[in-house]
């Protein structure tokens, strides 16, 4: 599940926060993996840190959840992507090697979603 939070003012954030942009606590969750998104911008990074694929193509995308825009950042499944492309989230069980970087492996999740052009 690509879990986003919905707040009383209708705004949605990914990731969720204990307090939303309007200053209120979330009231609901939304699974963004059930939606498609549009590529806002992208880059291909060739100088990647330990445990990260190289090259690493990343995109900021925008979902339209019943009229409410929600942005997300993630890897792209291909290097062939352009601004305006429609993409869908694809589950990946390990996005980078948890043991290779500076961050404590047990401190966070390492699975998630990359974006695949539709």
């Amino acid at each position: 599940m690509m879990e986003a939070y919905r707040y009383p003012d209708g705004s949605i954030t990914f990731p969720g926060h204990p307090i939303g942009p309007g200053g209120e606590e979330p009231v609901d969750t939304v699974d963004l993996s059930e939606y498609t998104a549009e590529v806002i911008t992208w880059t291909t990074s060739t100088a990647t840190p330990p445990g990260v694929r190289e090259p690493n193509t990343l995109a900021i995308v925008e979902f339209d959840v019943d009229g409410e825009p929600v942005r997300a950042l993630g890897g792209v499944t291909t290097e062939e992507v352009t601004i305006g492309d429609e993409v869908r989230p694809v589950y990946v069980d390990e996005l980078r090697d948890p043991e290779a970087g500076i961050r404590e492996p047990d401190s966070q999740a390492w699975d998630g979603y990359r974006f695949e052009p539709v």
Binding site: T41, T44, N56, L58, G74, R103, D111
Partner: protein, 384 residues
């Protein structure tokens, strides 16, 4: 509230250094004491700007260590970490300590030792500031720059070459800065044909990994006058924070932290962007010089790139930006960079910048950016 003066300043050679973080801090700190003519036991507060000495070399508690090495006991000492804007945050805290009356003499020293790490390791230490959601995708600060640069070029129909011209300009300025890591010119072709790091940005769009330190001495203006008439005033300081998660910003080409921190600093100083004669901006990536120059109010949104094309931001132009060479050529030892920006303005406003001197520089602005605009400090300074 006290008028706050900068009474003395120093910076070490930036680049690949033999000394470790404590050596660099002591080198800059003792040089600053000498420059200001202040004995160590006169220091009331001592702040150390540093992002990650623990992560880079396993040395923590550095504010205590440097206070001892400089014989500044029993001064109150604290380490200030605000990632890449630690230096600017140190300026803000040093200013607050004097303006509030809590300290009559505050020494600020910023330093980072980085070059013993591989590029991949240093990139990962810096990327550890990111949200877990960003980190697991292998997001780095350079990749944020690539994402934003592509959007900027696409949105404002700016040519890729304009980013390269920022690098060319700042390298040209750095030629005359003896402290700079790179004191050599680069041509546009070299920039545009250098290896891709985060498409569309290439190697020469990025600052290097650097060791170095810089220091400043702050005191009330009334105290400064007892020492010298050769000081500068800190007339406004603002700090502001944007989202931690970068993609949650509605417009990634606007840095809210720059907008808000500069608004605070301008209001405090009673100045506006048109009053600024010289600016030191945080060109960790070439695209950041455009974003800051627009969000500080120097140029219209989406038009910052035209200023570099027209030569307006060169020494000799109507608003020289980064006469020091910027982070791009001077280097970016994280915790030292914001302090070194103010060091450059201290020299410029006293007319002591040599070949880099901006004619008629009476008002200077420094903008120090942490993360990818996550935390920002803007400082305004005036000649006396």
């Amino acid at each position: 509230m006290q008028n706050v003066a900068i009474l003395g300043a120093s910076m070490t050679q930036f680049g690949q250094r033999d000394g470790w973080v404590l050596d660099l801090l002591s080198e800059a700190g003792s040089a600053c004491l000498n420059d200001a003519g202040v004995p160590p036991d006169a220091v009331d507060h001592l702040y150390v700007s540093n992002m990650a000495s623990g992560e880079f070399e396993g040395q923590t508690g550095i504010m205590n260590a440097v206070t001892h090495d400089l014989a500044a006991m029993p001064a109150y000492a604290a380490r200030i970490d605000q990632t890449s804007s630690s230096g600017g945050a140190g300026v803000k805290h040093a200013w607050q300590s004097v303006a509030s009356g809590a300290s009559d003499m505050t020494l600020l020293v910023g330093a980072e030792r980085m070059t013993h790490r591989t590029t991949a390791e240093a990139t990962d230490i810096i990327a550890s500031i990111t949200h877990p959601l960003e980190y697991k995708h292998g997001v780095t600060l350079p990749s944020f720059a690539g994402l934003t640069a592509r959007l900027y070029l696409d949105t404002y129909d700016a040519p890729r070459e304009s980013l390269g011209k920022v690098a060319v300009k700042n390298h040209r300025h750095g030629v005359d800065n003896d402290h700079a890591q790179f004191q050599k010119e680069v041509d546009l072709e070299t920039v545009l044909e250098s290896p891709i790091v985060a498409d569309p940005l290439r190697l020469y769009d990025f600052c290097p990994i650097t060791d170095g330190s810089a220091a400043l001495m702050f005191c009330p203006e009334s105290v400064a006058r007892e020492y010298t008439d050769d000081y500068v005033l800190v007339s406004g300081v603002g700090g502001a924070t944007d989202t931690h998660v970068v993609h949650e910003r509605a417009d990634p080409t606007t840095m809210r932290g720059v907008v808000e921190s500069s608004r605070i600093a301008y209001d405090m100083a009673g100045l506006g962007p048109d009053d600024v004669d010289v600016a030191e901006l945080h060109d960790m990536f070439t695209i950041l010089e455009f974003l800051q120059s627009e969000d500080l109010g120097f140029f219209e949104k989406g038009k910052g790139w035209r200023a570099v094309e027209e030569g307006r931001t060169e020494i000799g132009g109507d608003l020289p930006i980064n006469p020091s060479g910027g982070l791009k050529s001077k280097g970016h030892p994280l915790g030292a960079s914001g302090v070194a920006q103010v060091y450059e303005l201290y020299e410029q406003l006293r007319g002591e910048a040599g070949k880099r001197q901006v004619d008629g520089a009476d008002t200077g602005l420094a903008c120090n950016v942490g993360g990818f605009g996550n935390c920002v400090i803007t400082t305004l300074m005036e000649a006396v």
